[in-house]
């Protein structure tokens, strides 16, 4: 006599194999950082080029004065990080789209990530260690 094969009633669904949400987060980051950059970059351009005589008043003292305030330090830091990662992520997508060979894709990405790390660390280093009392 053959046994009647029945699934357990209300058996739980097969757990889905999560592959990670990397692409989702990168997509979301592009939207959020894009909106933030509109404010940060346009604000920066306005202060630097339009307000109080624009570019003509910019000198060592002006930069030193701004970076004495944690607010402007944070502003510039946020702009640097967001712009670098936003642009880098965009270029990563372009490389993913257009690089035909795996090796090309790999080396282009290595170049991209290396340049991102270099510029982010250099910029961050300058913002935090800037010395207004520097003498020549």
């Amino acid at each position: 006599m053959s046994e009647l094969i029945l699934d357990k009633p209300r058996s739980p669904r097969r757990p889905a194999a999560r592959r990670g949400n990397g692409e989702l987060y990168s997509w979301l980051f592009m939207r959020i950082s894009g909106v933030a950059l509109v404010v940060l970059v346009l604000g920066h351009l306005f202060i630097m080029n339009v307000l109080d005589g624009g570019v003509h008043r910019i000198n060592f003292g002006f930069v030193a004065g701004r970076w004495a305030s944690p607010f402007w330090q944070f502003w510039d830091l946020a702009m640097l990080w967001l712009a670098q990662i936003h642009g880098g992520n965009g270029l990563r997508t372009v490389i993913n789209d257009y690089a035909r060979k795996d090796a090309t894709r790999f080396w282009l990405k290595v170049l991209l990530y290396a340049s991102m790390v270099l510029i982010i660390s250099l910029g961050t280093y300058v913002i935090f260690t800037f010395d207004p009392n520097i003498t020549d």
């Binding site: 699934d7 669904r13 989702l24 990168s26 979301l28 789209d97």
Partner: protein
């Protein structure tokens, strides 16, 4: 019966009488014969046609009376089977749904219609492409009903409102117009493409289906919905009028908010 030169090219022989009111149009076809050609080439044909003719009629005219070696797919010829997707004047259309009157040049100038195979899929011959990569992506999203547990003893009932959610994406005929109009698909063939996402959408948003999470996981991958750049080429190309980009955005939203 004696063989004639025209029979040997595979065409039907003598041309039919030209109907009243026919206009002569130039049909430029991008051709490729893997046995002889290294590169695709353009062939032009002068065809007497009526404004009410479809582009498919012009192709038939070439095949039947001018050059029987012209190769293309078509089955129903009425916009249902989705066999004759091709690039007509640079946009993806079904040859059986494009009327000549919509392509005529203004001011009585000579009309030239270009016909190319759909892009992004390997060309076998002339307008005939290998659809396998396209169907492979379609199969990968599990386009069938998935349920767990015991089967109900009665019909799986669904409300009108629940049916409405995926009504648009049930219209897909898998002609590949959308997928082969997508710039991301042209450059990166591993992208699932709009058609596969449309068919995943059809089941993800079906209240009777329980496989939404599996499909969303598949589409959350590197080659999934996040590759979409919302260029709307797919929506423009769809001969069934499916809001393809909207469907892709709905899948993105379902992933983002973890809610179907």
């Amino acid at each position: 019966m004696t063989a004639t030169a025209e029979v040997s090219t595979g065409s039907r022989g003598s041309q039919p009488p030209v109907p009243d009111g026919a206009i002569t149009v130039t049909l430029k076809v991008r051709r490729f014969n893997p046995e002889f050609d290294d590169e695709p080439r353009w062939d032009s044909f002068e065809i007497p046609a009526l404004a009410s003719d479809r582009v498919l009629n012009l192709l038939h005219y070439v095949k039947w009376y001018l050059d029987g070696t012209l190769t293309f797919r078509r089955s129903c010829a009425h916009g249902i089977c989705g066999s004759d997707a091709m690039r007509i004047n640079g946009v993806n259309r079904l040859a059986c749904k494009v009327l000549l009157k919509d392509l005529l040049s203004s001011g009585g100038k000579q009309t030239t219609i270009t016909v190319e195979p759909i892009k992004g899929l390997p060309v076998h011959k002339d307008l005939l492409v290998d659809m396998e990569p396209f169907f492979e992506a379609f199969r990968a999203v599990k386009p069938y009903l998935i349920t767990y547990g015991n089967e109900p003893t009665r019909e799986r009932v669904q409300s009108v409102a629940d049916r409405e959610r995926f009504d648009d994406t049930t219209k897909c005929i898998l002609c590949a117009c959308c997928t082969t109009s997508c710039p991301v698909y042209w450059t990166e063939g591993s992208y699932f493409g709009p058609a596969a996402i449309v068919n995943a959408h059809r089941f993800i948003f079906d209240s009777r289906d329980e496989g939404a999470e599996e499909r969303l996981d598949i589409l959350n991958d590197v080659d999934g919905v996040w590759r979409c750049r919302t260029t709307f080429n797919c929506t423009d190309a769809c001969p069934r009028g499916i809001q393809v980009t909207k469907a892709i955005q709905e899948v993105k939203r379902a992933l983002l908010f973890k809610r179907v």
